[in-house]
């Protein structure tokens, strides 16, 4: 029987996976941009971003632009490694030898 490696629980969640997938091809993305692209609510997105940040997968920077607060997210080295690993495990899961 083929044994599958368990998929990373931090990434194996709809919204968190969407956020990481969006950030993997970018140097940085604003919170509002991520919200638009994922179609998530601000509250839900905020919770998931905090989880990714706490796991060390992303970095969150707070700035101001024209006196408005700005939240900028970027993927970390660890986040990139975990994402690559997740895609590899997913590939093994979808097409086992």
């Amino acid at each position: 029987m083929t044994r599958f490696k368990e998929l990373d629980p931090i990434l194996h969640s709809q919204l968190r996976l969407a956020v990481i997938s969006l950030l993997v091809g970018t140097e940085m993305a604003e919170f509002t941009y991520i919200r638009e692209q994922t179609g998530a609510t601000a509250g839900n997105l905020s919770i998931q971003i905090t989880k990714l940040k706490d796991a060390g997968y992303i970095e969150v920077t707070k700035k101001f632009r024209n006196n408005y607060p700005l939240t900028i997210c970027s993927i970390t080295k660890l986040g990139r490694e975990k994402f690559t690993e997740y895609v590899k495990d997913l590939r093994d899961y979808l097409s086992p030898e």
Binding site: Q14, L15, L17, S21, L90
Partner: protein, 195 residues
């Protein structure tokens, strides 16, 4: 996105990854501004040079090319303003930007080296401009821009052998094929996708 803890199948995960990665590929097509701006600017300069050369006695016809200097400032200001407003910055977008900045530096060095014979730089500029155009086409997977880059190289060879009188006409033609045609195609695609 729905509830974050909803269980996903492998196929659903793959779909999300593909969908999200594709969303970050698009922004570079908005670079059509530069293709259109420089395409028109150089087209106007080239045609003005040709008309002044053929139909007037003005000897300093190449002065029209000084329009390039404010053009660089307009381009840089646009880049700075849009860059500050950008809500996302992709690796491809950054690479695209640096390729063109590299071309600007290379062209500047050529202008300095050839400052006494500016009337002869056209084939060299086309030769050099072909490279970032060609690479940009590959970066955004857009064939008309790849073809535009190749066209720059072909026209550079043709005008080199045809002689200086054909330099401005060749340059204008290069702008039509290499910048303006792909630029309008990209612009229409962006506008269409916005609808």
């Amino acid at each position: 996105m729905e509830n974050e803890e909803k269980m996903m199948t492998g196929e659903e995960s793959l779909k999300i990854i593909t969908e999200m990665i594709n969303k970050t590929k698009f922004d570079i097509r908005q670079g059509s501004f530069y293709l259109l701006f420089w395409g028109w600017l150089i087209f106007v300069c080239s045609m003005s040079e040709y008309l002044l050369r053929v139909f007037t006695d003005i000897t300093h016809y190449y002065y029209v090319w000084f329009l390039i200097i404010p053009g660089v400032f307009v381009s840089m200001t646009y880049g700075f303003v849009t860059g500050r407003k950008a809500r996302v910055r992709t690796y491809t977008g950054t690479l695209y930007m640096w390729i063109w900045i590299g071309f600007l530096f290379t062209a500047t060095v050529l202008f300095i080296i050839q400052s006494k014979r500016m009337d002869l730089v056209a084939p060299y500029i086309l030769l050099m401009a072909g490279f970032p155009t060609f690479i940009s086409g590959f970066l955004i997977k857009f064939r008309p821009l790849i073809a535009g880059g190749i066209c720059f190289w072909i026209i550079a060879i043709v005008i080199h052998f045809a002689g200086p009188l054909f330099y401005p006409l060749g340059t204008a033609l290069s702008m039509l094929i290499g910048y303006l045609f792909p630029g309008y195609m990209l612009k229409n695609r962006v506008d269409h996708d916005k609808v």
